[in-house]
Structures are given as C-alpha cells and as structure tokens.
Subunit: 286 residues, 3 copies
C-alpha cells in the first residue's frame, strides 16, 4: 500500500522544501494543498480518513506547513478536531521549520551540556522557534530566561507555555539592547538567539566577558546574525573558548529530524507530531 | 508506460478522496486541477490528447469530480467536445460520488429483488444521486415512483431522464410529508432515500405498516437519516422483516465500483464512464 | 535518489502537456506550480536548492513554462538570480513550446539545406517562435530576413537578438501583404512561417513562382496556415518541387527535443537550457 502524505500549506504556494524532504523520506505520493485554513480543511481531512480501511489508515498522513506558524497551529488543531474516533491519520506540524529547528538547537546544546544543570537564555523567546526552544529546555529540566523586547510579551509567552510544560524554572526577561542582553546572560551556560533577522543583540565584546558561558547557538541564517562572531556554518566550533553553532551548523540535524518525523508518521495512524513529539524523535536519533 | 489520471475538480481544492482512490487503483501519476470550468478545460484536454502517440493514449485518462454535480456534468460534456476525432482519452464523471453511489444502491437492491418485478420509490428523486438511482432502476425494468417536494420538480427530472432511459414506467410523485411518503410507498417493494441531509421522511411506524416492502436503502451518511430506524452501518440488516442498508453499508460497494471504474479507464482511450457505464462496471463485479 | 522536476508555470493552471512529457522522460516526481511570477518564485527556488546535499542537487531541476513567453523569460531570469553560488539546479525554459518548436523547425530545414549557404525568410519573425528560429538560423551561418508587419518591430527584434547571436547577416523586412511576402522571399531557399493563427501570407500561386525556393515550413497548427498549400501533417512532403513541413510534421522532432532536454537537466546541477542549448540538444539527436 502506497504511503500518501497530504501537505496542508497555509501559504499561496505549497513549500518546495517540505515536498523535497517528503520525497527523500520515501513517501510515495504527496498531495499538496495551498491556502489551507481552519475553514476549508475539514473536507480534506474527511477525504483522508474515509477512503482507506481502518487498518490501512497508517499509510495516509498529514503534514501542516507554511511560513506562518500561528496559521499552521490553527490548521493543526482543526485537523485533529475533524477526526471521527478511530477514523484518524497521523499529523505533523512544522510551519516554517519551527519544531524541527527548535529541536535541533536544543539537541545541539545537549551534546555539550547537562541540561538539568543548565541556565539558558533564549533571545527572541517569543517567536515561534524561540518559544519552542524554551519549552524543550524546560522539559529537560533547564532553567530558562525567556527574553523579549517587552516584558509583557515575554510574560504572555511564558503563560502560553505553561499549558505545555512545567514553567517553574522559566523567567521572563526584557532585552532590548546589548547591555540588557549581557545582563540577562550573566551566569548563563547557554544562549540561543532565535530573534528576527538583522538584529544583533550580543556583540562579541559582550559575550567574551560572560563567565561560565559554554554554548552559543544563533539560528539566524541571514547575516547579520543575532550573536556577533558566530558564523552561519559553525557546528561545534570553538570561539574564545565557547562552543558555537550557526543556522546551517544546526541545519543538518534539523533535516534528519524532519526526515525521521515524516517516516514516523507512517508507523501508526495516531501519531501527533507536535513540538514535544518531534523533539523526542530527534533525541532518539542519538 | 505510466498511467496518468488527470483529475478535473470543480471545487477550489481537488478532492483528497478521489486522489486516494486513484492511488489505490494503481494509477501511476495523478495531475490534480481545481477550479475547473467548461471555460478553462479545453487547454487541459488538449494537453492530454496531443502529447502521447495515438497508440499510447489509453494510458492517459480524465476524471471529473467535485461537490457540485451540475458543474461536473458541464465539464464532462466540454471535455468530450474538446476531443479531435481519434485523439481522445477515456473520461469518468463522478462528482460528489453521484454515479458510484447510485450504482451501489441499485446493486444492493438487486441482491434481494428481481428489479423487473419491482416497484421502487425514490425519495429525493430530483437530487443528483436520486435521479441517477431512478435512471438505473428504470434501465433494469423496474417501475419507479420519483418523489420530490413539488410535483413540478419531479416532472422536470422525469423529462430530463427521458433523454437517457425509457421512462414509460416512471411516475413523478409529490412527497412533502411522512403521510405523503407513506402514500407514495403503498405497494412498493423498495424505497431508496436520497434526499437532503436532516430531513426524515419515513418514520419507522410508517414503513412497518407497508405490506410488500422488502428493501429500504438510506443514502444519507449524517443523522438524522431519511428513513427512521435504518442505521448508517446497515448492510442487509433485517429490521421488522425488511432488509435495510445505510450509507456506509452501501459504501463498500461504492468504493469497489469507483476503483474498478478507474482501472477500466485505462483499458482503451475511448471509455465514457457516465451513469450507465459505471453501473455496468458495478454489475460486472458480481 | 528520485528525480524531481519543479514545473513553474506562469498560467493559472499548470500545463498538462509539459507534465505528460516530463512523466514520459522518466522524471520521478513533478511539483507543479501555477501563477508563478518573478515576485513569488524566489522561495520556490530556495526550497529547491537548500534541501538536498550539493552532490545530490543534480536530481532536482526546474522547468519554466506557460503560454506567455515573455512572462516565462522573466521567471527564467529570476530563477537563475535566486541561486547562491554552487547552490543551484538545472533550469529549462520552454514557454509555449517556443524553444523546442524553433529548434525543430531549423533542424527540419537543416536536413535539406546547407544552412551556411542558405538565405531564409522568417515570416512572423517578431513572435516568440519566429525570433528564436531566426536566432538559430543566424547561429548556423544563414542569411536571415526577419519579417514583421512593421519595419520598426522587425528592427527591435533584430536589436534584441544581437545580444544572443551575431546579427551581421540579419535583415529586418516589412511584410504586411502577400505581395510583400513574395518580394521578401525572392531568392530565398527557405521560408519559415511562424506568424499568428489565421493569417495567410504566402498563397500557393506566389511561392510556386519563387526560383531557388527549396523548403517551406509552416508552424501554424490551426488552419488556415500561413503558407497556402502546406498541410499540417506535411513532413518533408514534396509539393511543386518544394519540400514542405507543417506543424505536426515538425511536432515529432519537437517532442523528441523536449524529452531529451528534460533528461539533460538531470546530468548535472548547472544546465541552463535556453534557446541555444535546446537547439544543441536537438542537433545531437541526429
């Protein structure tokens, strides 16, 4: 029985990237849909669950993607509401690569740090990748300082995260300038920069002075990156005694996680591959 | 040579259901188009008939679908007008599952009744499934009472059907209430309900009193069904000495017909799979 | 590794024709996009170049098509601007079959003529097929009279062509009537008609009187053709001692070139299949 992946993309054109990954993960047929919304998705889901026999439903799966992560989350939610009891298929959500990127970043850090003993700063912590990285760090027992340009936004994200993870060790912080970034990073072992493109928050002169800092991860693929001195290709590169990762350095792991998650979808018809589940897949890859 | 099915869907998104069935019927490549109209379909058809050599045209076929049956009929007609003599490909029309569902319903009845000796009532007989079921029953020699909420609509549909089948044994009837449904069903051996969702026309107390009634088929998949007491999963289930079929009970046969029809498309380049042809395919499945 | 062709079509529906050719040229997966513009194409290209490893990029390629040749040229240009150094994939441009048709026409002529010694007239020389045929004839050393209804348009096209080919032997001419067509064709060995549908420019009585005329090629597939007496199916057919080709007669070669070009795309990740490159592919087919 052929493995069918239904790509539900919220953008006007379905992502080429996600289709290539699916092909290379041995999906047999990809049905690509664009402009998908919570309003028009139900019929597509019913077409997926009411065609094949229950025992064969594991050979059909849904991937939710697109550049708008909030739109993807809304579609992901509606997809799962459109199931009828056992008539369901596996679903993965990775709009804008948010879940696979956050997972790869946290796994990169875990190669060098005992996360239970780690204090981490997430710059750009209210964005889709930043808040997911914070969630995963918390789930591993780290202490997390979630930074945003306003304290209110940091607090709102912390509030949202409390539905998914224990946020006892989460501390919202305001970071609007390099000096605030430095202050927020005092005593931290790990800094992850997941902010908007083109905003440099941590100059080299600043992070070189941070005692105890062990790992820097910058997820911005377009220069200037958020942490000065970290290069896009860095992959465990030592700079001033700090281990550095850039966006492409993390990208290899991200791709492996994406590919493994697509394969996982077809193991049963009830996989729900959200942030936590995708991270688990990444962890199992060793 | 790979088998290509060109899915021409009149909806804004091409049906997932129809794509899955095509994959499982061993089509190699599905080209899915949405928003297809008689105005924009000609170029698509020409692309289908002017690419491969005449001897290879049987490996390309067209499927017309979508939720709007009238829109599908218009596209089906225009597709066939776009052919150039022997430069043609096989075409199937099954918008909203209308042809496969009507065929499956009549075949279910034929398992229990000699249709030549049968008087049948089709409730919702002016809808796309109802009028097709009436057409097929007439083609098998049954006497058919085609019911609608207004006699005019029933007469119009009877008029339309006369182009496709001998309508000597067709009688238009008005059914707007349970009492009229009961009156229309007096002496009938078979009642098929193909009406709109949520309109119950035949209460259990009513049909239990109908002498001679042998088979009840309700094609509504969403409760309340049109014939009280028939369950969606019924598949030859006896209730008060009447054999009952519900929408899902008929669905298995419907799927088999759909799949067989897709395979049939590739036997030659001149298949025209309309209501009558799709029913014939169903009948040949035994 | 599966061969992926990304079809970037500028029309509202992606061409069926181009998809069928790709399937028959052993492409494994076709990603079809419609409504592609220079504005929305960059993300699609990035999805193509940033997914697979550099060594595997030759298994992904891009085809630019659609009925509007100028729109296709703009997309083709933008696609190549969206590459990052070695991160690129092969691209072919054949909007409206312009490159494959012009190549097939010139190759048909070359079967009978030594192009270096040939004086050719291209009627409809400012259209997408005509100007490409002129370019290829010039590249082969022929003397070319490029005809248009106004001399200004003919001159503009000559100017544009000078960027791609040596135009020393190119002469713009005005042809608005059969008598002007006859005058322009005096002494020519070859006339190619690539004008708009339904405009007959060379009556039989006219071209029969042209001394030295050896080959007539009419690329119009819909009667009336541009050269009276040439039939659509003509394929080296002698008529009044002149060798004639019609649109379908040239079509077989066109299809072979199209198919070979698609295969060529996957030989490396840096193929740029424009007019000249596609003609070379045609020539290598013998």
């Amino acid at each position: 029985m052929k493995r069918i992946l239904i790509q539900l993309d919220t953008d006007p054109q379905p992502s080429v990237f996600d289709r290539v990954v699916a092909v290379d993960a041995d999906v047999d047929e990809i049905f690509s849909y664009s402009g998908v919304t919570p309003e028009n998705v139900e019929g597509l889901v019913h077409g997926a669950i009411f065609t094949r026999k229950p025992a064969d439903l594991k050979y059909t799966a849904i991937f939710v993607g697109g550049s708008n992560v909030a739109a993807g989350e809304a579609v992901f939610k509606k997809v799962r509401k459109s199931f009828y009891g056992p008539m369901k298929v596996s679903v993965m959500m990775d709009s804008n690569g948010s879940n696979t990127t956050a997972s790869a970043a946290v796994l990169a850090a875990a190669r060098h740090l005992d996360l239970k003993q780690t204090t981490a700063v997430v710059l750009g912590g209210t964005g889709p990748v930043g808040c997911r990285a914070a969630q995963l760090l918390l789930s591993e027992g780290a202490t997390v300082r979630l930074a945003s340009r306003t304290l209110d936004k940091a607090k709102s994200t912390a509030e949202l995260l409390s539905a998914a993870v224990d946020t006892t060790l989460l501390q919202p912080v305001k970071v609007e300038s390099p000096s605030e970034a430095q202050a927020a990073s005092l005593g931290a072992h790990l800094v992850i920069a997941a902010g908007a493109a083109g905003v440099e928050l941590l100059p080299t002169g600043t992070w070189r002075l941070l005692a105890g800092l062990e790992v820097l991860i910058d997820l911005n693929a377009v220069p200037p990156v958020g942490i000065e001195g970290v290069e896009i290709m860095d992959k465990g590169t030592e700079r001033h005694d700090v281990i550095c990762y850039g966006a492409i350095g993390v990208g290899g792991t991200k791709m492996k996680i994406h590919s493994a998650a697509i394969r996982k979808l077809f193991e049963s018809n009830d996989q729900k591959l959200d942030t936590a589940a995708i991270y688990e897949i990444g962890r199992s890859l060793g």
